[in-house]
Amino acid sequence: MSIGHTLLGLLESGPRHGYDLKRTFDEKFGHDKPLHYGQVYSTMSRLLKNGLVEVDGIETEGGPERKRYAITDAGITDVETWLATPEKPEPYLQSTLYTKVVLALLTDRDASEMLDSQRAEHLRLMRILTDRKRKGDLADQLICDHALFHLEADLRWLELAAARLNKLAEEVRSA
């Protein structure tokens, strides 16, 4: 995810301090991965250098100085362009799971056992996310659903692969 664009977008509703930006980002988008202060600091200085934000004020009272940032017109255009540009869909062609299956077959290891333990691992995470979704608000539900649909896709693939394992083994070993 583009942290720069996201922080910039958060600034559109009004100037904020770096700390405030980090807190809002973590709350809305951070989930299990909060931002480091260092990331916020380096991102803001890059945006500053590119003229997408400006310093709106500096507080020095008690402790280190705190800059307040405001978005510039160029910054607003940048957010606008980012939002209007579709994200490239993940091609999903480099799959660790597929690589593991083929290697297991090539080395005469038990590929179906591997698929089964992967399946169990995926479902375990799906249970955790489902539970979290049940207890969460709409934002939580949507973010968990996004993850759940992707895990579901993996699981469907795991099932398909399991069902075609013998055929794949023939192909892989004859190649």
Binding site: E113, D116, S117, R119, A120, E121, H122, L123, M126, R127, L129, T130, R134, L148, F149, L151, E152, L155, R156, E159, A163
Partner: protein
């Protein structure tokens, strides 16, 4: 062999239909209050396993014990009494009686167990409230949507306070939002009454509402807790 504390246990189930082997040595066990998903490819024997566990189909071989009692040893009358009083059922579709109103449908199993009409409908109403379909009391199944009908069916299955709820693709005909809501309500209700749920599904997002899953392949079951 019965795992400690389990409510319903099956071991070595075999069932053939002519040349077709539907179950080929399947095992199963469930504890009170547990939700177990039964997954696996189409035709692998999931429904046959559920039907055997519920005493609807007799296996050719193997044993099924419910609460310490061997099902095979029970006369048919005792078996159907057990099904009526201790088990609840939800299927994919077509399970409500079209001539009865929704509240009458939910009250029906209570009436069959000898409850008075007024008491049965009062209990039915409470369950319909829990499943968020108490606005459909007087409607007939033909006048409600698939998702609403499925909630009514879940209310009916739970109204007798079953110890085991058997659900075969209970969300199979619903979109994912409705299906998940039904699962949420179903598992909440089952947990609050400490009922065990045997949940046959091929949808992983539905299975994620379970506590653990078994996978049936070619009539044999695999407990996925042991897959890791």
């Amino acid at each position: 062999m019965t795992p400690a504390g389990s409510l319903l246990t099956a071991s070595g189930l075999r069932k053939t239909y002519g040349p077709t082997t539907a179950l080929d040595g399947a095992d199963f066990s469930i504890h009170p209050g547990e939700v177990v998903a039964v997954m696996g490819p189409s035709g692998s024997g999931k429904s046959t396993l559920l039907h055997c566990l519920a005493g609807i189909v007799k296996p050719d071989e193997g044993s099924i014990t419910y609460n310490g009692r061997e099902l095979a040893g029970l006369p048919d009358a005792a078996l159907s009494a057990l099904r009526r009083s201790e088990f609840g059922f939800v299927f994919q579709f077509g399970q409500l009686v079209p001539e009865l109103t929704c509240v009458e449908n939910v009250a029906l199993p209570l009436r069959l167990n000898g409850a008075r009409r007024k008491d049965a409908e009062q209990t039915a109403r409470t369950w319909m409230e829990r499943l968020e379909v108490d606005d459909l009391l007087g409607k007939r199944p033909g006048e409600v949507s698939g998702g609403q009908g499925q909630r009514v069916a879940v209310a009916r299955a739970l109204a007798t306070n079953p110890r085991v709820l058997f659900a075969d693709e209970p969300t199979g005909a619903l979109d994912s939002l409705n299906g998940e809501r039904v699962m949420e309500l179903l598992t909440d209700a089952a947990r609050s009454t400490n009922a065990a749920v045997v949940l046959v599904t091929h949808e992983t997002r539905v299975a994620a509402y379970s506590d653990r899953e078994i996978v049936v392949r070619d009539g044999r079951s695999r407990d996925m807790e042991r897959a890791v």
